[in-house]
């Protein structure tokens, strides 16, 4: 390696060009070494010990584990960030080692390709011994930390370039040199390299933009890297997409089985529209009451409660058939599932025993499930035991849908979005109405169209006239009084 300090030429680092020294014009009294055979053993830095074979395009450099300080002689390798064959750049993290409560990130001093890792994870690495072998590119420069500090004249100027808004710019000395020679502040250049690193192309782009022309190559460039092409203009997005294959795992894998079983059920669909104008008004009234108790009230608690009231009249929709369709089990509890869009996918937690709950209590339970769902914390008890499902796809969008029944249930409803649409009023005038579409699917082996239709009509009736229905059953109506009554005298569910 040429060990002539580069400050005599330009820049601050030692030249580490392997093979032929291809650097700048030297002052006449300096001798350019023919090859790294001129290397004297004493010139080698204590910390890095590099050797290069006489003839090579990319010399293999043994990167040794540098001194950690405090007299520490050995560390444990905890994690490798690279593997053999990986390309690394200067400053890239290579591995994480630990010594006596200190976690140390070892970064690369070279650009190149990793050729050998000397230790496995959990092995003990020795300070001063080789850690990795890196095949460096010819012409790449080695950063030697000590040098940057040693040449004072350059260092201070470089500092002003290095610190932008408190953010240390990553740029190799060659790049910094180029910027300096062209009077460019590194803070003004956008880095496109890794971690926002400024590359040579970025400087050239910046220059091109400034002058609006292709710059003639500076003498520096002429000798080191002949410019064969003009600086690139704004790159057009190139589609380099490749097909990606990955195995299904976890929940998605399990859902394949569920959905395959679901398709064995002969589905039939039934759709309708519901006028929610009165419900919209009622909810607006009740919202502040609920919020006063710390509960967020959406429309779902009403849809769920109405479904449960309907199931009391049509229990076959809350049933289950066995494998060979021999027996039908009418489930006592209305555990109404709610399809929830989480970061894992579509999960269906259910509200247990809706037949015992008031609208307010359903809202509370929904809040709890939604909080768990959004943090990915739903447990098996929340996700199992459902008997009937509602999917509020309308919260995202859509009108009509064709939902798929979730075994072992026999029916499901998909709710579209609520739209304000023109409808005819009692006196024949056009009035705005809050309309929501509903799409039911049911198991045709045990449920017929008429049953589904009647259930849907009843459900619709509860929602269209929330103030008027007064049932003889214990649950009462959906009115304001029903809403409050239950919150005072609610039945305690056993979990």
């Amino acid at each position: 390696l040429c060990t002539r300090p580069l400050s005599h030429v330009t820049g601050t680092s030692r030249c580490s060009a392997a093979g032929r020294c291809t650097l700048l014009p030297v002052s006449p009294d300096q001798q350019r070494p023919e090859s790294c055979r001129d290397l004297k053993p004493d010139d080698v830095d204590d910390v890095t010990d590099a050797f290069c074979p006489a003839v090579s395009r990319g010399p293999i450099v043994q990167f040794k584990l540098s001194d950690i300080g405090e007299g520490i002689m050995e560390v444990t390798v905890k994690e490798w960030y690279v593997k053999e064959g990986d390309k690394v750049s200067q400053f890239d993290s290579i591995c994480e080692v630990q010594s006596d409560k200190a976690s140390v990130t070892i970064t690369s001093r070279y650009d190149g390709v990793i050729r050998k890792l000397y230790y496995d994870v959990d092995a003990t690495a020795l300070v001063g011994k080789p850690l990795v072998d890196i095949e460096t590119e010819s012409g790449s420069e080695v950063i030697q930390e000590e040098d940057v500090v040693e040449t004072p004249a350059m260092a201070r100027e470089e500092h002003t370039h290095q610190e932008i808004k408190g953010h240390k710019t990553q740029a190799t000395p060659a790049v910094r040199r180029l910027a300096m020679e062209n009077n460019i502040k590194l803070s003004e250049v956008v880095g496109t390299g890794k971690d926002g690193r400024i590359l040579k192309e970025d400087i050239l782009n910046f220059l091109a933009k400034q002058t609006g022309a292709i710059l003639p190559p500076t003498p520096f460039q002429e000798i080191q890297t002949p410019v064969t092409k003009p600086p690139p203009t704004t790159p057009k997005p190139v589609f380099t997409g490749k097909d990606v294959t990955e195995p299904l795992k976890g929940f998605h894998k399990a859902m394949v089985k569920t959905m395959s079983a679901a398709l064995k059920i002969p589905h039939f669909g039934y759709c309708d529209e519901v006028d929610l104008s009165r419900l919209v008004a009622l909810r607006a009234e009740l919202r502040s009451v609920a919020e006063g108790r710390g509960v967020k009230l959406s429309y779902m608690p009403f849809f769920i409660k109405a479904a449960s009231l309907g199931l009391l009249h049509f229990p076959i929709l809350n049933a289950s058939v066995d494998e060979g369709c021999q027996n039908i089990t009418y489930k006592a509890s209305h555990n109404i599932g709610l399809a929830m869009d989480t970061n894992q996918g579509l999960l269906v937690p259910n509200v247990k025993n809706v037949q015992l709950l008031s609208v307010f209590e359903i809202a509370q339970e929904l809040n709890r499930l939604q909080a768990l769902g959004s943090t990915g914390q739903l447990g098996t008890s929340d996700l199992t035991g459902g008997t009937f499902t509602l999917s509020n796809i309308g919260s995202i969008g859509g009108t009509y849908a064709k939902p798929v029944i979730l075994p072992p249930e026999v029916a499901i409803g998909a709710l579209g979005k609520i739209q304000v649409l023109p409808r005819f009023g009692a006196g024949g005038q056009v009035i705005p109405a809050h309309i929501m579409k509903v799409s039911w699917s049911a198991d045709h082996r045990i449920i017929d169209g008429a049953t589904m239709c009647r259930f849907s009509n009843l459900w619709r009736e509860y929602l269209e006239n929330p103030g008027q229905h007064d049932l003889k059953e214990q649950n009462g109506s959906l009115t304001l009084s029903g809403f409050q009554t239950h919150s005072r005298s609610h039945v305690i569910r056993s979990d």
């Binding site: 950690i68 300080g69 405090e70 905890k78 994690e79 400053f91 994480e96 630990q98 010594s99 006596d100 409560k101 200190a102 976690s103 140390v104 990130t105 970064t107 994870v121 959990d122 930390e145 500090v149 201070r156 500092h159 002003t160 610190e163 932008i164 808004k165 408190g166 953010h167 240390k168 803070s187 195995p247 795992k249 976890g250 929940f251 894998k253 399990a254 859902m255 089985k257 569920t258 079983a261 289950s320 066995d322 494998e323 894992q344 996918g345 999960l347 990915g376 914390q377 739903l378 447990g379 098996t380 996700l383 199992t384 979730l406 075994p407 072992p408």
Partner: protein
Amino acid sequence: MSVYVSSVVNADVWFTLNYTRNCSQLRTRTVVSCTAWICGGTAPSGGCRHKLIILRSRSTDVYQNLALEDWIDANVDLQRRGVLLLWRNRPAVVIGRHQNPWTECDLRAMRRVGIPLARRRSGGGTVFHDLGNLNLTFFTSKKAYDRKRNLKVITEALRRVRPGLDVQATDRYDILLNGHYKISGTASRLSRKSSYHHCTLLHSADRSALSAVLRPSCPGIHSNATPSVPSPVANLLDHAPTLQWEELLDGLEQQYSTGTLLLLLASPGSDSTFPGLSRTVAELRSWDWTFGKTPKFSVQTLLDLTDGRSPARSSARLHMEVKNGLMESCELDVPEDWLPRPLSAELMNSLVGERFCPHRAAAAAAALLRTESGERQSRLHNLCDAVVSVMG
């Protein structure tokens, strides 16, 4: 002693300073409340002359404070100055860089009481943070990394505010009170050119909460992760009942920088003051960092199986290999007469490649249970619950 505050105007003018003179609160102190952070900029006027800067974090969010440490490490020029960061968090458990959260703390108990888990970038063992636990981070260049010197600042400060207090730093870089109780633990991180050494200082931590969460989530985990070394601990307040928080901080700050110092209050919530901080916060909160960075480990345990319908019982052997927080392999040995092999195999199969996380497993299990019924279903349900409970 007085605090000298300089107003630094950098050529780029990317920060401003708001002064608040808060003499009544802090006696002769002048505290500068920063809306932007002073960083190693070289101003035309000669720059910020302070070689030692003290920062008090206003945040009590563990992720924001850890991210702030990262930020200072990456963005402040530590070659020519040192920084001391003082911070504390609302209750949280913080594990070391290379530790295994499932062996170090009871994740279920923490979830129940809402105590979050964070993995820091430095090595060392598990700590319980709360508002009675002071954290100090000493930032220096890698060359100036000296843990003994830093601990001396603490012990000298404590002796100054309470002469006669028996505090000693040990070879393991702990601080012992009365030669017996640990009041401070240490961890550090070394990067390319910079380093930081942080330590705790127990002033008035809730010791009962500590012992409730610092125990394993589940049995049967075999790993080479850094284990924590448990020690008897004590609070400073128990042995020096008049030592208030503010007095402790004052004493430490004065010991750190004899002479003029710059004291700043940092609010790490805003990205405009600390650009890029919110990205680090998001990374520190992520599952991939907190759990995914666990060194490879294996789980070997025996599961108790019941029916829910009959008094019948059985047991199954479970063996999992977990790498990067993902289940690389799952083997479940369930007696054939308890549950048909294909069923338990299906459960295991659906878990391979998935996160070692009880919620992920619960979702997969719930989907599988839909297609079963009767006794098979209740037994499979029980098996699923047992497997899920192993995951914390």
